[in-house]
């Protein structure tokens, strides 16, 4: 049995992404040396939307890339559902760049750890900054985000589900409670 609570709808996601785009530009003083890399799958969609917003604000193109971290995971052998390897698409040099790493949900920090390992194989960025739509807590590694869409304190038996138009046909974020689990 699963219970759903909607925490973000289309409009609120839009407002959050607008605010984050401004924060990124403010901190980096414009688009110089900036690039955005999204972690597959939702992070990649968010990265592309972020790129569009930055273009609207500053009227400058920012390179946007996609990172697949499957091959860098530390839980490849533990994971119950077998991971499918997808393409990484970073067709620009990240050396000397300020990389904005984008993901949908920050939880244990293990995905970000894997992404950091992958990124340093591509070059030596000046900085890597982390932007996430949702920070749900429960970190297992010393990793913190630079830009947060929304902090949502959760219990570990809850799951955050981000749905995006590009993949699920709707923009929303919901909490799913696995009520059959003891709390």
């Amino acid at each position: 049995m699963k219970e759903k609570t909607k925490i973000l709808d289309k409009e609120s996601i839009n407002r959050i992404l607008n605010r984050m785009a401004h924060e990124i530009l403010e901190k980096n003083k414009g688009t110089g040396e900036l690039c955005i890399i999204g972690i597959r799958t939702h992070g990649a969609f968010l990265a592309s939307r972020m790129g569009t917003r930055i273009k609207l604000i500053e009227n400058k193109e920012v390179p946007v890339g996609i990172l697949d971290i499957t091959l860098y995971r530390d839980d490849l052998t533990l994971i119950s559902s077998q991971p499918v390897v997808h393409k990484t698409e970073i067709d620009f040099d990240i050396t000397g760049k300020h990389v904005i790493l984008v993901d949908d949900v920050l939880y244990t920090g293990r995905t970000v750890r894997a992404a950091l390992d992958a990124l340093v194989d591509f070059g030596r960025p000046t900085t890597i900054q982390l932007a996430v739509l949702i920070d749900r807590g429960h970190r297992e590694l010393p990793i913190r985000p630079d830009y947060v869409g929304k902090n949502i304190p959760t219990a570990q038996q809850e799951t955050i589900e981000v749905r995006m138009e590009e993949s699920e046909g709707i923009d929303e974020v919901v909490i799913i409670e696995k009520s059959h689990l003891p709390s």
Binding site: D68, T70, L71, Y72, L76, T77, Q82, P83, V84, V85, H86, K87, T88, E89, D117, A118, D121, F122, G123
Partner: protein, 310 residues
């Protein structure tokens, strides 16, 4: 879909979905070899043993490069310089490799079916890198991957395989894979090099090279394996080239002007393939080599991730 096999023994035993899954996974791995640091940690801490009972350069090196790009440790065993010379059986060798806590054995052996035998006696993964006249699954997968890259599809393609079909594991694996994916396959060779009942695999037979090329989108040219000719069944080199060699003039008579030319290597220039054809823009022979790494990375990765592997 989910990959469940611990071994890759042949394409005969794979479903269409499994074939497509390997090709899609290989497509993702191709990018790794274009990076400045051509390495990912997916197989870190795993040991791959290349156990080769037949001479091979490109297949062994390709598996070795693929395993190393996945950060696995690679051990190469060539039978001529191993205890096989002292009479050790394949099963004993396999069990010893397993006792060394290796994770994957890549086996090349001149006996058809030997990877099956080995896989029944060890728990670790076995990948067939060519067994006798039976199958060479990763070669066919890289051929099919290259075709898919060139044409965007396999369904409906006309593929002609020319040369020593009788002794060719590459031909057999290609026929299994291509027909499952919906390609139309024609085999072309002198009658003594066409094996009995090959048409039951769903292929068309012709002995006329011009006919084989006329409707083809791609031609896979096999090497004449003169070393396997024990009954003097093979034509002389020059006769073979005259009748079946792929030349510029023959390619120009084909309907598809962009017909692509493939060859699993090593090439015998001037026997099965004219030198100028091997180097012409229609030839994708070196792209096949590059794609071979991506395909073998995918296979090594998938067998190591299957739930049935340890």
């Amino acid at each position: 879909m989910k990959w469940t096999r611990k071994d890759l023994l042949g394409l005969e035993y794979l479903s269409k979905e499994e074939l497509e899954f390997i090709l899609a996974t290989a497509d993702s791995f191709k990018e790794v070899s274009t990076r400045e640091i051509k390495k990912v940690p997916a197989l870190r801490g795993k040991t791959v043993v290349n156990l080769f009972y037949e001479p091979s350069t490109r297949t062994r090196v390709s598996f070795e490069v693929a395993a190393k790009r996945l950060s696995a440790d690679v051990i190469n065993i060539a039978a001529e310089t191993s205890s096989v010379k002292k009479g050790e059986t394949l099963i004993d060798t396999g069990k010893n490799i397993q006792a060394l806590k290796a994770d994957i054995i890549v086996l090349r052996n001149s006996f058809s079916g030997s990877p099956f035998l080995l896989s029944r006696h060890v728990d670790i993964s076995v990948i067939n890198a060519g067994d006798g006249w039976h199958e060479h699954p990763t070669q066919a997968l890289l051929d099919i991957f290259t075709l898919k890259e060139k044409f965007g599809r396999i369904e409906g393609l006309n593929v002609s395989i020319v040369g020593d079909i009788a002794h060719s594991r590459v031909a057999r694996s290609n026929i299994w894979g291509l027909t499952k994916l919906g390609a139309k396959v024609t085999v072309c060779a002198p009658p003594m090099l066409i094996p009995y009942a090959i048409e039951e695999m769903g292929v068309r037979i012709t002995h006329d090279i011009d006919e084989a090329l006329y409707e083809a989108d791609a031609v896979n040219v096999l090497r004449m394996q003169f070393e396997r000719d024990q009954q003097n069944a093979f034509p002389e080199h020059i006769d073979y080239f005259r009748q079946y060699g792929i030349t510029r003039e023959r390619l120009d008579k084909a309907k598809n002007k962009n017909l692509i030319v493939m060859h699993p290597g090593p090439i015998n220039r001037g026997i099965e393939l004219a030198s100028e054809v091997a180097d012409c823009p229609q030839s994708v022979i070196l792209e096949q080599v590059t794609n071979g790494i991506a395909v073998r990375m995918a296979v090594l990765f998938l067998v190591s991730q299957s739930e049935n592997s340890q």
